[in-house]
Each structure stands twice: as structure tokens, then as C-alpha cells.
């Protein structure tokens, strides 16, 4: 009987430990295969619009109602926050010459697979500038106590990439060192798409 409180404490600790370990497991490495069609469509749509005007979109809330829209001009980056139903959003898109229908379509598709951030990222290989499309997906599992938020990050490259025997993204064909993006090591999905799980979505 004396040991009863101790047992309860141990049980609580074990439960907390199990919860803290659960987070990574909910991310499926099959995520890309399951959502390939939508992901490819988002990537292509984003690339097309981004060619006309550089921009990025982030969902800033958990209910996918608010977006942060960053529009890059030659001299300045404009950062706006909108409710996706707000008429101001459309006015702003028109003001900067962004296609309203395509952006609305992009936002809807992003929301449908819980993609919270899409951006174009520059990187350098042998001094040459390259760019990739960076997407963050918020996982659907309920947030468990004692766990930090995790994001499933996908990077889409224009050229085939190089990987080591463990499928980790390398800096180049001759460079055997790992390519780090935003402090994370990436894994191969296919020659042009990689993924990682990160605590930061951007």
C-alpha cells in the first residue's frame, strides 16, 4: 500500500515518455506516394506563378484560415497577413499582378493536404545559383503532451540529386558531404524530391 503513490508516479512518467516518443512515428515515409498527385500539382502551380512574380505563402494558424503572403519586388519584400476569405486579399493580388484564380487554387490545394508553407529557396553548387521549391506539411495527429510540433518538409529540385548509401542528400557528385538545408539533413524520395522531419516549418 505504501508503494501506491510511487507506482502512480512511475506510470505517469512512462506515459509521458511514450507520448514523447510517439511523434516521429506518425509521419509516414509513404506520405509523398499517397499525396503525390496533389503535391506535384501544388509544386507546378507554384513554380508557374513564381516565374511571373516571386512570392511565398504560409498558413499562420492551426485552423488554416489565415495566410501570410510575402511578395518580392525588385526593391522590397511586402509582407501581408489575410484571412483567406477577406476581399483585401484579392485586391492585393491584383495590385501586384498576381493571378487571383491560381493563387486561390494554390491556397485551397495547400489547405487540403495541410501544407503550411511554400517558398522558393536559393542554394549554391560550385558557386552556381540553383533553386528549389520548399514545402512544409503539418501532420494531422493530435498534439500529444510533452511533444514538440513536427513538420514534414519536402524539397523539390530541378536537377537530379546525389545521395549516399543511406539515401541522405549530398552536396554534390564529388562532394561526399551532406547537404544541410535550414539545419536539417534530407532523405531521398526520388532523384528530385527529398524529405525531412523538422521542428521548424521555414
Amino acid at each position: 500500500m505504501q508503494n501506491k503513490p510511487t507506482h502512480i508516479v512511475w506510470l505517469l512518467c512512462a506515459a509521458a515518455l511514450m507520448c514523447s516518443c510517439a511523434s516521429r512515428k506518425v509521419f509516414s515515409t509513404n506520405y509523398y506516394t499517397e499525396n503525390e498527385k496533389t503535391l506535384t500539382s501544388i509544386e507546378q502551380l507554384y513554380k508557374n506563378i513564381n516565374q511571373q512574380k516571386h512570392f511565398s505563402i504560409a498558413f499562420t494558424d492551426k485552423s488554416f484560415e489565415y495566410i501570410s503572403l510575402e511578395i518580392l519586388t525588385d526593391s522590397i519584400k511586402y509582407i501581408y497577413e489575410f484571412n483567406i476569405k477577406e476581399p483585401r486579399l484579392q485586391d492585393t493580388l491584383l495590385k501586384y499582378g498576381l493571378p487571383v484564380k491560381d493563387i486561390a487554387d494554390l491556397v485551397t490545394q495547400m489547405s487540403s493536404i495541410r501544407c503550411i508553407w511554400i517558398n522558393n529557396l536559393d542554394y549554391y553548387v560550385n558557386g552556381q545559383k540553383r533553386s528549389l521549391v520548399f514545402m512544409s506539411i503539418r501532420h494531422v495527429a493530435i498534439n500529444l503532451p510533452f511533444t514538440s510540433e513536427k513538420y514534414y518538409i519536402l524539397t523539390f529540385y530541378a536537377q537530379p540529386q546525389y545521395f549516399d548509401s543511406e539515401g541522405r542528400l549530398l552536396a554534390g557528385r564529388r562532394l561526399r558531404k551532406l547537404r544541410i538545408i535550414n539545419g536539417d539533413v534530407f532523405q531521398r524520395i526520388n532523384d528530385k524530391v527529398c524529405y525531412t522531419v523538422s521542428e521548424r516549418f521555414r
Partner: protein, 311 residues
């Protein structure tokens, strides 16, 4: 009755000392203002200096920094001062932020220092003597996966030398450079260190409010900033996760981690303020509420040029 000689002597000297001190108090600021001015130069002078250098020879001190790329980088800094970029995931934001001052107001001193540091491995900037450590000299030119900083070796050299030279309490446990330290506490900058660097390197008058943990007690932030931006440069010490949201969990404690240069502040509606700031090699304009603005600002440095005859 006569006073003892030693007492007379003491009083006389005390009187002299008081007169000398009083005279110094009156005259030193006047003399100082004549001499103690912020050095200024133009973009044209800096470019002419770079042209005079011709082809730079590879430096033994900085083996990984290619001289042609180094010069190209310096030229770009002078021609496009907003383009200096701290790199992705590094702790160089403070060094990049205050580089705004020399690149806009005194590019000649900046490039002269950089060329000397490259050639000789040591140089003086303001009242600071730089002789970076061997590890830093080997690292400059090798930083990678940091976006445009990968191809800007002069900026790598500049940021690494600054982080190596200036130390604050945040660097207490990590004072010596190891590969990867540019992303760690080795390169971190607290508010007092930032202001000290500006004073010592560029000789500006810096009046700062705020701290590393507590926000400044300013009632009307818009009024405060818009008033001071008229007379000098403003650097803000901000709570970065609030400005650039990186995850969806609410931070338990908000602490400042990011430095930006405020370029403009404008009241656009009843409850909306447009702030234009410079960071990450770009100018950004963002519309925020006065409450949000007050929430993210932990430190404000008002940086004013010292001019001859100024009071």
C-alpha cells in the same frame, strides 16, 4: 592664530584641483567635438580605393578566400549596400545589421580595413585591433549551405572576425571557434554588445533603451520611433519567432534574438502601422498593430553621427 602649513598646502591643492577639473569639464567636450567626429566617406571614394588595389594576391592568412571573389564581394557591398546577407541559419544577424552603418556612411574605411585584414591578417577598425584566430582564418571562405553567403567570402571573413573578436556574456561558454559555431552561441550577440560594437568600431553616439529580457517602457512606440528616425539610424532588437513565425506552438517565454535596421515607420490607419526594415539582405515592409509592435521590440538603439561642434 595661524593654520598649520600642511593644512594650507592641502586646501590650496584642493582648490587648484577643483579649478582644473571645472576647466576640463567646460573645455574637453568642446575640444572633443572638434576632433571626435564619425568618419564619413562616399561610395565613389570606396570604389576608387578598390580600383587602386588592382589584382589582389592570394593571402596566406586566409587560405580559403579566393582574392578575386573577395574583391568582387567588397565591390558588391559598396555598390549594393542592402545586399549584405547574414546567411541562412547563422547567428550573424547583428553583424549584418550594423554593417548598414559603414556601408552607407563610410564605405572607404570599411573596404580599407577589409583589404588590410586580408593582406596582413590583422588590422585596426575604430578603436579595435583585430587579429582573428587561426581557426577563423581557416573557416572563412568555407561556410556553405547558407544561401548567398556561400558565395560571399568577404562577408564570411567580416562576420567571423567580428564574432571572434567581440565577446559578451552569451559567448561565455563558447569562446573559441569550431566548425558550425556560426550557428551557435559563439556568434550570438546581446543588446549591450551590439551597442558597444557600434560605438567602438564606427564612433557613433548610441543611445539605447531596452534589454535582453525586458521590453523598453515606451508608451507610444510609433511616436517614439518616428521621432528618432528623423535624427539618426535605428536598430531594433526583436523577438524573431513573433516576426518570422517558425512553428505553430506558442513560445512560453518571448526573448529577443534578431537585429534589424528600421528604415521607416508610418501610421496608415487607426490601428495599423507599416514598418519598413532591413534584414537578410532585403528591405521588408510589414503592416502590424501597435500592440504587436510593442510586443516584439526589446531594444531600440538610436545611432547618431558625431559631428564637429555638435552638443
Amino acid at each position: 592664530m595661524t593654520k598649520p602649513v600642511h593644512l594650507l598646502f592641502t586646501m590650496k591643492h584642493l582648490l587648484y584641483t577643483c579649478i582644473v577639473c571645472f576647466t576640463c569639464m567646460l573645455h574637453v567636450p568642446v575640444l572633443a567635438n572638434d576632433r571626435d567626429t564619425t568618419p564619413l566617406s562616399t561610395q565613389k571614394q570606396a570604389l576608387a580605393y578598390l580600383d587602386q588595389q588592382g589584382e589582389l594576391k592570394a593571402s596566406n592568412f586566409w587560405p580559403k578566400v579566393v582574392p578575386a571573389l573577395f574583391m568582387q564581394n567588397l565591390r558588391k557591398n559598396v555598390e549594393e549596400p542592402f545586399s549584405i546577407y547574414e546567411g541562412r541559419s547563422t547567428n550573424f544577424c547583428a553583424y549584418a545589421a550594423f554593417s548598414y552603418l559603414p556601408l552607407h556612411n563610410d564605405p572607404l574605411t570599411f573596404v580599407t580595413f577589409m583589404v588590410k585584414l586580408y593582406r596582413e591578417g590583422k588590422a585596426v577598425y575604430g578603436i579595435e585591433y583585430f587579429e582573428p584566430s587561426r581557426e577563423v582564418k581557416l573557416a572563412a571562405g568555407t561556410l556553405s549551405f547558407k544561401g548567398e553567403l556561400d558565395i560571399r567570402p568577404a562577408d564570411q571573413l567580416w562576420f567571423l572576425s567580428l564574432a571572434d573578436h567581440f565577446k559578451g556574456y552569451l559567448n561565455f561558454f563558447d569562446k573559441h571557434y569550431n566548425p558550425g559555431d556560426e550557428n551557435r552561441m559563439w556568434a550570438a550577440v546581446n543588446f549591450a554588445k551590439f551597442n558597444r560594437m557600434v560605438r567602438n568600431l564606427f564612433n557613433y553616439e548610441v543611445s539605447a533603451i531596452g534589454s535582453d529580457l525586458l521590453r523598453p517602457g515606451v508608451r507610444d512606440m510609433y511616436e517614439y520611433l518616428s521621432e528618432r528616425i528623423q535624427t539618426g539610424t535605428i536598430a531594433l532588437f526583436l523577438n524573431n519567432p513573433n516576426l518570422y513565425k517558425k512553428n505553430h506552438s506558442k513560445p512560453i517565454i518571448g526573448v529577443p534574438t534578431h537585429f534589424v535596421i528600421l528604415l521607416g515607420v508610418e501610421e496608415i490607419e487607426e490601428d495599423k502601422i507599416a514598418i519598413t526594415y532591413w534584414d537578410y539582405g532585403f528591405r521588408s515592409r510589414q503592416i502590424v498593430s501597435p500592440k504587436f509592435l510593442k510586443k516584439i521590440i526589446f531594444g531600440i538603439s538610436h545611432i547618431v553621427k558625431k559631428t564637429a561642434g555638435a552638443k
